[in-house]
């Protein structure tokens, strides 16, 4: 990486370079250049994508920013690509892929987020809850773009693990969840068992989330991870799966567009309402739309061995066979 030696442009933004990729921004757009091509994206969308990629440590599999640009996680190294999962780019042989160390690309993205995010704009927030990403450089929002992702070792609320959320800890109930019951379970622990008799109101906890489209671990049964999240507007990225992933819709409704992971050909739309459960196969990519802030339980098998198991035929591409 990195920040180029050039002075910031006339709008006050720095240019970034990692390997063969160069990134620059103006008032409205980000321009990405690589040895065989170039591409532009609106800067608000770009920042929302980069923010997720950073927060998730490149997540599971592929994070497409759009139909051209994205990253692919190899859990130690990460690919940055242009046109790799776009048939036209591949056919024209203008697709490009470069592999980086996990931290090298992460550091580049972090520096970019800090420099390109203006005061008052929060890439994690719903559009109705934040300011503008556009215009000349104006301050920063480092507090928002460096949020720590919640990763519980056993369960949120267990002594020594991730804490509950409250007004006092800076997590007020979101405007769209004002009607969510905040009552906590009744816990009657025998003396000596206070640390093991544990329960909390997950729905109230989620109602106090200050981010959107950011799965965080609230409970872990070995490598089975509950990663609930609150969703509003669109999932900015198109997530390409490298393993089967499951969704449980806790509240309201999300509609998903599902495409072939490698070609982008449309495969299905999945309409999920409260109580619905659906799997995302390991060979698709998906993006979601939530018209009202909703609660979604993303369920992951966090084993790093799964992509190799799928490649060897030891793990299924589809969730169940019946």
């Amino acid at each position: 990486m990195t920040i180029t030696d050039e002075a910031p442009n006339q709008l006050g933004y720095r240019q970034f370079r990692v390997g063969g990729f160069t990134f620059s921004r103006d008032e409205y757009f980000v321009t990405v250049e690589w040895p065989t091509g170039n591409h532009q994206m609106p800067v608000d969308h770009w920042l929302r994508c980069v923010q997720r990629d950073v927060a998730w440590g490149f997540f599971y599999g592929i994070v497409n920013f759009d139909s051209v640009i994205g990253t692919m996680n190899h859990y130690g190294t990460v690919d940055m690509f242009a046109g790799r999962f776009n048939e036209a780019y591949r056919r024209a042989e203008v697709d490009y892929n470069e592999t980086f160390g996990h931290d090298e690309l992460l550091d580049c993205f972090r520096a970019m987020l800090s420099d390109w995010t203006n005061e008052g704009y929060d890439p994690f927030a719903a559009p109705l809850e934040t300011g503008s990403a556009f215009g000349p450089s104006s301050g920063n929002n480092d507090e928002a773009v460096t949020r720590r992702r919640v990763v519980a070792e056993r369960m949120v609320g267990v002594p020594g693990d991730e804490p509950l959320r409250s007004d006092d800890s800076g997590f007020p109930v979101n405007r769209a969840f004002a009607d969510v019951d905040q009552g906590e379970p009744e816990i009657d622990a025998a003396p000596g068992y206070e640390d093991e008799v544990c329960s909390f109101n997950l729905f109230a906890y989620l109602s106090r989330s200050d981010v959107t489209w950011n799965p965080s671990v609230v409970s872990a049964c070995k490598e089975s991870l509950y990663c609930p999240t609150t969703e509003e507007f669109t999932l900015p990225v198109i997530h390409g799966n490298d393993r089967v992933e499951w969704f449980v819709q806790i509240s309201d409704e999300i509609q998903w567009d599902v495409e072939d992971r490698d070609t982008g050909a449309k495969r299905a739309r999945v309409i999920m309402r409260a109580g619905d459960v659906a799997a995302m196969p390991a060979d698709i990519r998906h993006t979601g739309y939530s018209p009202k802030r909703s609660m979604l339980l993303v369920w992951e098998n966090g084993s790093p061995r799964i992509p190799e198991m799928i490649a060897k035929g030891e793990a299924p591409v589809h969730p169940v066979d019946f």
Binding site: A176, D181, P185, D188, E196, S219, A265, A268, N301
Partner: protein, 165 residues
């Protein structure tokens, strides 16, 4: 300010979505609904609604009092409907091989120490600690979603619960 209404589901009131196929097989999405599954289940039947290798999500109809179960690893019970009372028990002897997956049925009352109880309502998540025993009680009918590993009592009924066309 907009007055938002959050829509949760229940046994009495749920509106199932679905998979709209463009060019695929709906079975690949294993689409089901927890409340629909629980509405057609026997009390405390552990019906898988999600499976990821050895890990499962089980939809459980809570009605009356369950058997005692022992779990070799942490499990997590999320109440999706109703009010469910969970008793936790610390057994004197090891009741289940800690290297196995999934909880097992105990026949009769375990010996040991009561750890306490949790009375959980919709949205409340309770840890069922590794090496301990538990049972559930619901005066009416409730629904629990259990995060666990497949075990001897996990029920697979995919063809009955999932969208197939």
């Amino acid at each position: 300010m907009t007055d938002y209404k959050t829509v949760f589901g229940s046994l009495e009131d749920y509106a199932k979505g679905g998979v709209h196929i463009v060019d695929d097989d709906p079975k690949y999405y294993a689409f089901s609904n927890i409340f629909e599954v629980a509405s057609q289940a026997a009390p405390y039947e552990k019906i898988a609604v999600g499976k990821n290798l050895e890990y499962v999500l089980e939809a459980i109809r809570a009605e009356g009092t369950s058997e005692w179960r022992a779990t070799p690893h942490d499990e997590f019970a999320l109440v999706m409907d109703g009010t469910v009372r969970i008793e936790l028990f610390d057994p004197t002897a090891e009741l289940v091989d800690p290297s196995t997956g999934g909880s097992v049925t105990l026949h009769g009352e375990p010996e040991g120490n009561p750890m306490g109880t949790v009375t959980a309502q919709r949205g409340h998540m309770t840890m069922l600690p590794a090496g301990k025993a538990y049972r559930m009680h619901c005066d009416g009918v409730g629904v629990v979603l259990l995060q666990t590993i497949e075990g001897p009592d996990t029920v697979y009924r995919w063809a009955d619960i999932c969208q197939t066309f």
